[in-house]
Amino acid sequence: MNNRMSAHLHPGLNLGPAHGAAHERSETVLFGFWVFLMSDFITFGILFATYAANTGHIGLAGGPGPGDLFDLKSIGLQTGFLLASSLTCGMASLSLKYDEGASRVAQWLVVTALLGAGFLAFEVRDFASMISSGGTPMRSAWLSSLYALVGLHGLHVTMGLIWIAVMLALLAVVGLSDRVKTRLLLFALYWHFLDLLWIGIFSVVFLTGMR
């Protein structure tokens, strides 16, 4: 393998040769995580296919439909929150790469978490209002698919927030060790991937549903 000096060893932002061993060890771990994200991609893909198959009148089973339940303004806000959090996550990665110190990285992570929490807050609020209008996941196949797809994404976001909390604790206790740096890169890959999925969700589920 003659790419030891290469600046780009793995998907996502690379630390670069200046980070020495941290950059080298990241190659295998980040690649492995990328492969895992591919499997997650398939999981969501199947949920998308199931959702699409259930959008007809049979799937709706006479229950409430997209027009009755969707709130595009809220979806727009959620999209904004998640996109902004992707940006701040990128800023966290850059401050890691350019050695701005553990507290700067932590600050960007906190902002990312707050934006992610904002996304979730509106999503939970939407679910609650759908349920109170009779749009429960037990009402029809379409609703089951909706909650499964959007809900699984929301669960992934929640796990991301927990991950940020753990990273903040690690930064405080251990600081920017090689392993912590690698984990931060992993987190960034994960968080950007969630925004990619959200593009699919708001396009296929919410926008298409409202048309």
Binding site: I46, A53, L87
Partner: protein, 99 residues
């Protein structure tokens, strides 16, 4: 230093393009456009936005090392198209024969 500035600018550029594409997609639904146009705009802007984010946030590209990561996405896309396409074909076929 300029390397850092360049990378930061790329993230901002990616975010800016994403905002634009999102507004486009939302606009096509909220505005007075027909269903077909809206669906096309939504699809195209979604695909483009995904490509934008892959490029600017995830650093996937056509360079040599980046190509392996890209190949993995393309392979996943191939299998996913078979699974999703197959599912839709099969279930639609079944639904037609049931009604």
């Amino acid at each position: 230093m300029s390397e850092a500035r360049r990378e930061r600018r790329n993230y901002l550029l990616g975010t800016g393009l994403s905002i634009l594409l999102t507004l486009l997609a939302f606009g096509s639904v909220i505005g007075p456009f027909g269903k077909t146009i809206a669906l096309w705009v939504i699809s195209v802007s979604a695909v483009v936005q995904i490509l934008v984010q892959l490029r600017f946030f995830l650093h996937i590209g056509l360079g040599r090392q980046k190509r392996e990561d890209l190949l993995l996405i393309l392979f996943s896309l191939l299998l996913l198209s078979i699974m999703v396409g197959g599912t839709l074909w099969i279930l639609t076929n079944l639904a037609q024969r049931m009604t």
